[in-house]
């Protein structure tokens, strides 16, 4: 969680200072979700993300250098410099792709689950979905279809209360997204999205039974993003029902600080260990950043490559 946090803070810095050209959607404050979920996944599972997916890919493969390189548009990145922040891919770790059309990869994850069921290999698909994506019709088609066909797919709802600038209270009559599970007869859990231990324990239970029974499941995790919708600003000015006070209150529920505190109370962690860890992570991130900055962008002559398979 600390590495993901610091990597995203580095990206915020990189964007603010003009090192990064494209948009970066940061998920600082939401790290517990991907970390808790990824801990129970196998390398052969099929994970799909969306526009805010740095934590989703890093929690499967903590290679911050490849993330930095990708966001900077370098050939050494996760998507060979062709994707940037919003199109990430790392199949070897189980990350099958993230793309930024809201709800765009949800049906694709359903297909990955359908394939897993046909292949009888007990793999599952994971679709990360925001609260805003539930306002897209296709998500409801997907819930219906996966329930009807008994597909092994975990819908991970990151309910951070905002779609772009708008609070959920202005978009839906009810802020509990998992209510749609009931209509589709899908098992669900609604949890504190900033408690990594709880997320791990509860989703493990769901996933273990999904693998056995070929059933979908929904897990809704309520959280909050500290930055605005895109880039490094807090977006209080443009956020509809987003206040400095809310952000400060949510920061008190920081998933990293909570875990650290709990571990200290259990006597298995200390401030010294924490400082040493942070120092080490900071060093790694600095090295990865500098190294990625030095890498090459794709050559202009490769512009038309890979429009089709093996095409040049």
């Amino acid at each position: 969680m600390i590495t993901i946090r610091k990597a995203e803070q580095k990206l915020a810095f990189g964007k603010e200072k003009g090192f990064i050209e494209g948009p970066v959607h940061l998920g600082v404050g939401q790290e517990a979700i991907a970390v808790g979920i990824s801990e129970i996944l196998q390398m052969t599972d099929r994970v799909f993300g969306a526009h805010r997916s740095h934590s989703h890919i890093l929690s499967l493969n903590l290679d911050v250098y490849k993330l930095f390189a990708e966001v900077l548009g370098k050939v050494t990145g996760f998507s060979r410099g062709m994707g940037g922040s919003m199109h990430l891919y790392d199949k070897d770790s189980g990350f099958f792709g993230s793309t930024p059309i809201v709800a765009g990869t949800v049906s694709i994850a359903v297909g990955a689950a359908l394939a897993a069921k046909m292949q009888k290999n007990k793999d599952i698909a994971v679709a990360y979905i925001g609260d805003g994506a539930f306002e897209e019709g296709v998500v409801h088609e997907c819930l219906n279809f996966s329930s009807l066909h008994n597909l092994p797919i975990l819908f991970v709802i990151e309910n951070n209360l905002f779609a772009s600038h708008m609070n959920i209270s202005q978009r839906q009559p009810n802020n509990k997204i998992s209510r749609f599970s009931e209509a589709n007869e899908i098992t669900y859990k609604l949890l504190d999205g900033n408690n990594v231990e709880l997320i791990y324990k509860e989703s493990k239970e769901l996933v273990d039974s999904m693998r056995e029974e070929n059933r979908p499941a929904v897990i809704e995790l309520v959280t909050y993003r500290w930055y605005g919708h895109v880039d490094w600003r807090e977006d209080i000015d443009v956020g509809v029902e987003r206040s400095k006070e809310d952000i400060e209150n949510w920061k008190k529920r920081d998933p990293i600080a909570r875990l650290s505190k709990a571990m200290k109370e259990m006597g298995i962690w200390s401030s010294e260990k924490n400082s040493a860890l942070e120092k080490k992570i900071n060093n790694n991130i600095e090295l990865a950043w500098l190294s990625a900055l030095d890498d090459k962008a794709p050559e202009a002559k490769l512009l038309l490559n890979n429009v089709y398979k093996d095409s040049e």
Partner: protein, 330 residues
């Protein structure tokens, strides 16, 4: 090799059976598949022969089902998504245009959606504006999609096999008005899509007629009447609209020095415009003896009334009239 008689519809059925027999990773998903009158005689009894787990009829959810086809294709499967009417497929534009078409490019070629999306043009019969559209030009506009439109019985089967075996996303468009054609075919075999493209289906010297899908059928129907009045046309069937390999068309126009394009879709921004542009951009303009002409649907939604339908859809006589006029013989 022994030949067997097929019509356009049973040729597609033969392709399905060939693929489902030979390739365990192939499956079929879409609406109406357990009640195959939806798709003419192209899928009769497939669900009974191969099981309802491999031939999947679905809820009325074009977008999710098409996306699921794309997703399964990223995981070692070769799905065929069937849309019995192209009009309803518009609900699935995101998985087709935003996702499948761009998947390879966005991830630097590390992943390819080997999905085939079969769209059927199903018009006439007073079905009206929302049950009649031929939208091939839309898809041919999108880099990353391969767009295939067979007009002959042989192509219906062989290009379908080629589409499914291709590792890129393919939009395969067949037309219900072509289903009654018959032909004798040798047994099905693997076909490579990447080397298929426009094909000269009749050689001639007086004018190059380039046609797509059902329009090719019409052009071929016009051959006898044209020859009777002394016009010997060269007919090229486009077959693969995207990526579009237009070299044969250029060579043909350089020979005949006259060009007519017939398209089963609308005129404005239609695929006929692409063909015309490619020719004009690639030949010496002084070579053309006449002004090139396009024959396509008028720029209006399809009408419902039979009387208006007859006015709306070009027929053989209309094509002959236009070509005679183009060549200055009227």
């Amino acid at each position: 090799m022994s030949k067997k008689r097929f019509n356009y519809g049973t040729a597609i059925l033969d392709a399905f059976e060939y693929l489902l027999d030979k390739y365990p990773e192939v499956f079929v998903i879409g609406q109406g598949l357990w009640s195959p009158w939806y798709v003419g005689n192209t899928m009769t009894n497939l669900d009974k022969k191969y099981g309802k787990n491999r031939v999947i009829d679905t809820p009325v959810s074009e977008s999710a089902v098409t996306g699921a086809g794309v997703g399964a294709s990223l995981c070692g499967m070769r799905p065929i998504v069937v849309h019995p009417r192209m009009d309803f497929m518009l609900y699935a534009m995101d998985p087709i245009v935003n996702q499948a078409a761009k998947w390879s490019y966005m991830f630097g070629g590390q992943s390819n959606p080997s999905v085939t999306i079969r769209a059927i043009i199903n018009r006439g019969g007073e079905q009206g504006a929302q049950h009649s559209q031929a939208l091939h030009a839309w898809f041919a506009h999108v880099p990353g999609l391969r767009v295939v439109m067979p007009s002959s019985v042989e192509d219906a089967r062989d290009l379908f096999i080629a589409s499914v075996l291709c590792d890129d996303p393919v939009i395969f468009i067949d037309d219900r008005w072509l289903y009654d054609q018959e032909d004798e075919l040798t047994p099905a075999k693997d076909v490579v899509l990447e080397t298929e493209g426009p094909k000269i289906v009749k050689t001639g010297k007086d004018i190059t007629i380039v046609a797509t899908g059902y329009a090719t059928f019409l052009a071929k129907e016009a051959i006898n009447k044209l020859e009777k009045i002394g016009i010997n046309p060269e007919i090229i069937d486009v077959r693969v609209l995207n990526p579009f390999d237009y070299k044969k068309i250029i060579t043909s126009v350089q020979k005949t020095k006259n060009l007519a394009v017939i398209d089963p879709g609308w005129l404005s921004c239609g695929f006929s415009a692409e063909i015309l542009s490619r020719v004009v951009e690639n030949i010496d303009p002084s070579l053309l003896k006449t002004t090139p002409r396009r024959i396509a649907l008028p720029d209006s939604p399809a009408p419902t009334s039979k009387i208006l339908e007859d006015e709306y859809y070009p027929d053989v006589d209309k094509i002959i009239f236009e070509i005679k006029q183009l060549l200055g013989e009227l």
